[in-house]
């Protein structure tokens, strides 16, 4: 083993207690240091005998957590990167944390969430046995370009022997690494499905083979659904694991595979999370686990709600929900979900990227890929746009048809909180961005809203 690698490992390990003492634990610094000292650190660091990676635009954190929780509940020692990041330095930090100073791993299996763009720096050294790709949508304009580009990166980066677990309802991610062994998961027709896209983002409108128009038998949202080409006959692959008979009242579904049908309790009522659950089931089945065992493990698991915080305050429900700044798809999904909730809703839009505002200026093109039109709904009684890009949000809301008397625009986030109506019985959604400054600001604004709501009741 290279001396350089050992030096890097020891230096990185030494940095961990120091970071803990200085209350900087949870950062990628150890991995960054290791990669700086030894650029091919990932090649030499000890790894568990089984490696599972989860990638894709949306759902990778939820799916990774589900898989980790189930494997841990089964008694396996599972290494993961949920406390750190999903880029190469985050993966390096996790792997070095999981081995001894003599470079021996302490884990049976690694479940690693991998950022799609970082896959070229990870997969040459960390070769997964199984890779799950949840879906591919357009994401950050600046970083990810478009999903075809991300699919091409994954195709060139994923090792040829890695088994893929792919979304049959997403013809973009389903096309990744076509020579690799693969199975597909999917979700059957649901109430409310459409055949024509009702979203602004529709990332796959033409046949990947002949550029003919795709026709959908059903579409859950955006380009996710079952499609075929009317010109050449190309069609969505048949799912090996199909979520079907979804019953949102009873919170149940059936998963159909080669072994037959098996009932499951739903962990969440959102279509996104039902997909996440079916994805995790497909992975566990591929690892050889039987349905009864998976269902039993899942019955003790909750989908992490780290990005969703709800509290009753006075006579309103205050919900703080991450909506991922600069990500039209994520915000569209949140808008769709919020408007589908019962009762009156009030929204405070503060998904601005506050870090961008410090250094340059947020690229706001995504606002016109995002379905603000969902907010033109009678259940949405009031929307307040705030933050550095408040005026852009305000314009977008008005162009989406939200009536002027339902929208306010206030630059200062705390003054914006004062504008909220806090009508008794309503829900107030505070939507915030993914950067740390936004999160800190959102917590402070949430406190103010709660204070106002409690004061109003008193």
């Amino acid at each position: 083993m290279k001396l350089r690698f050992l030096m890097a490992l020891w230096a990185a390990k030494l940095s961990q207690p120091l970071l803990k003492i200085t209350k900087h634990n949870g950062t990628n610094f150890p991995g960054e240091l290791a990669l700086k000292l030894c650029p091919d650190f990932l090649k030499y660091v000890a790894k568990p005998r089984r490696i599972i990676t989860v990638t894709g635009t949306d759902g990778k954190t939820s799916v990774s957590n589900l898989i980790c929780d189930m494997l841990e509940a089964e008694g396996q020692r599972v290494l993961n990167n949920r406390a750190g990041s999903n880029i190469n330095s985050g993966v390096a930090t996790s792997l070095l944390s999981g081995c001894t100073i003599f470079n021996r791993t302490r884990y049976d299996v690694a479940v690693l969430e991998v950022d799609e763009r970082s896959s070229k720096r990870i997969y040459p050294y960390v070769k997964p046995d199984v890779t799950v790709i949840t879906n591919l949508f357009r994401d950050s304009i600046m970083r990810n370009g478009h999903p075809e580009y991300i699919a091409s990166i994954l195709t060139s980066a994923i090792p040829p022997e890695t088994k893929l677990i792919l979304n049959a309802d997403d013809l973009i991610s389903a096309s990744v690494a076509p020579s690799n062994p693969r199975v597909y998961f999917g979700l059957d027709r649901l109430p409310g499905d459409v055949t024509e896209c009702v979203n602004r983002i529709n990332d796959l409108r033409i046949c990947p083979k002949c550029a003919g128009k795709l026709e959908y038998e059903y579409r859950h949202y955006h380009h996710i659904g079952r499609a075929h080409c009317r010109d050449c006959g190309f069609q969505s692959p048949a799912p090996d694991y199909l979520g079907t008979d979804v019953d949102l009242e009873k919170m149940t579904m059936t998963v159909r595979d080669a072994a037959g049908d098996h009932p499951y309790k739903l962990l969440s009522d959102s279509t996104f999370n039902i997909y996440n659950q079916v994805t995790a089931i497909a992975l566990m089945r591929e690892l050889g686990m039987d349905h009864d065992k998976i269902a039993s493990l899942m019955s003790h698991i909750k989908i992490a709600e780290s990005r969703y915080l709800s509290q009753k305050a006075g006579q309103v429900e205050v919900v703080m929900q991450m909506a991922k700044d600069r990500n039209a798809l994520a915000c569209s999904r949140v808008f769709d979900y919020v408007t589908s909730r019962p009762g009156e809703k009030e929204l405070l839009l503060m998904m601005n990227n506050l870090s961008d505002d410090l250094h340059w200026s947020e690229n706001t093109c995504w606002l016109y890929d995002c379905d603000f039109e969902f907010l033109n709904d009678d259940g949405v009684i009031h929307v307040v746009a705030t933050g550095p890009r408040a005026k852009d949000y305000y314009l977008r809301l008005r162009l989406a048809g939200v009536p002027a008397d339902r929208v306010d625009c206030v630059r200062d986030e705390f003054e914006a909180a004062d504008k909220l109506l806090l009508r008794p019985g309503s829900s107030v959604y505070l939507l915030y961005g993914a950067d740390n400054r936004s999160l800190t600001m959102a917590h402070r604004v949430r406190e103010k809203i709660i204070h106002r709501a409690e004061e109003a009741q008193a």
Binding site: G145, Y149, N202, W360, S361, N363, C365, W366, Y368, L399
Partner: protein
């Protein structure tokens, strides 16, 4: 009055289609679309604006093949003063070729330029420029730049890159055929330019939808982008 969107099934990235929507809603113009396997409307119909937006790299080649038979009709339209707006990397389709590492991809050759593409080096920037006396603000997000003679360009750069980071002229202009690398809702971000486009479409007294708000947002952005302390590349 009609606005034709060319190939929206592939030329639809980064909110670009909002340009045609906004101009349509501000003028009452009907939107007609042409898909890859259809004949465009503009050679035979009275089209006030032909619009093409940003696409994928595969999309560039599909559009090149689909549009090649209609290049002459576009030249004729331009000679007669017809208005055409091309945004984002759709501009590269009308250059001579795209050099993608070792691969040289022939394009339509309307503009005397070629693009150099580097898929692992995405380029992001803010943009501040001039259209006549008018301030233009916008965003660039692309995998390459174009090189060659673009004359005075469509816009004159004040801050940010022109057709490439070494030159001031941004985009191309041949009569009322306009092409720019700027992506996204250019017309919404720049209400004075949107009114200019409406004027060129033949709208006598252009009035934009939500004009007051659009101008307020525009003025905020012009101030921000004019601040010398504001970073410009991402």
């Amino acid at each position: 009055m009609k606005i034709e969107i060319l190939y929206p099934e592939v030329c639809n990235l980064y909110g670009d289609l909002a340009n045609a929507e906004y101009l349509s809603r501000s003028s009452g113009a009907e939107i007609v679309t042409t898909s890859l396997k259809e004949k465009p409307h503009f050679p035979e119909e009275d089209i006030a604006l032909v619009y093409m937006g940003t696409t994928t790299e595969r999309g560039q080649e599909l559009v090149r093949d689909a549009f090649a038979p209609w290049l002459g009709a576009l030249k004729e339209r331009t000679a007669q003063g017809g208005l055409t707006l091309i945004t984002g990397n759709a501009l590269e389709i009308f250059g001579e070729y795209i050099q993608d590492e070792e691969r040289k991809i022939p394009m339509l050759g309307l503009f005397p330029s070629h693009a150099e593409r580097h898929m692992m080096a995405r380029y992001n920037s803010l943009y501040l420029g001039k259209y006549g006396e008018m301030d233009i603000v916008g965003f660039k997000s692309q995998f390459g730049h174009s090189y060659g003679d673009n004359g005075e360009g469509l816009f004159t750069t004040v801050r940010g890159p022109g057709l490439n980071p070494e030159v001031k002229p941004e985009g191309f202009r041949q009569g009322n055929l306009m092409a720019t690398y700027l992506v996204g809702p250019l017309a919404i971000l720049n209400p004075p330019f949107a009114k200019e486009l409406l004027h060129l479409m033949g709208v006598a007294a252009p009035q934009l939808e939500c004009e007051d708000i659009a101008y307020e947002a525009y003025q905020i952005r012009v101030r921000e982008f004019s601040d010398p302390n504001r970073g410009f590349t991402y």
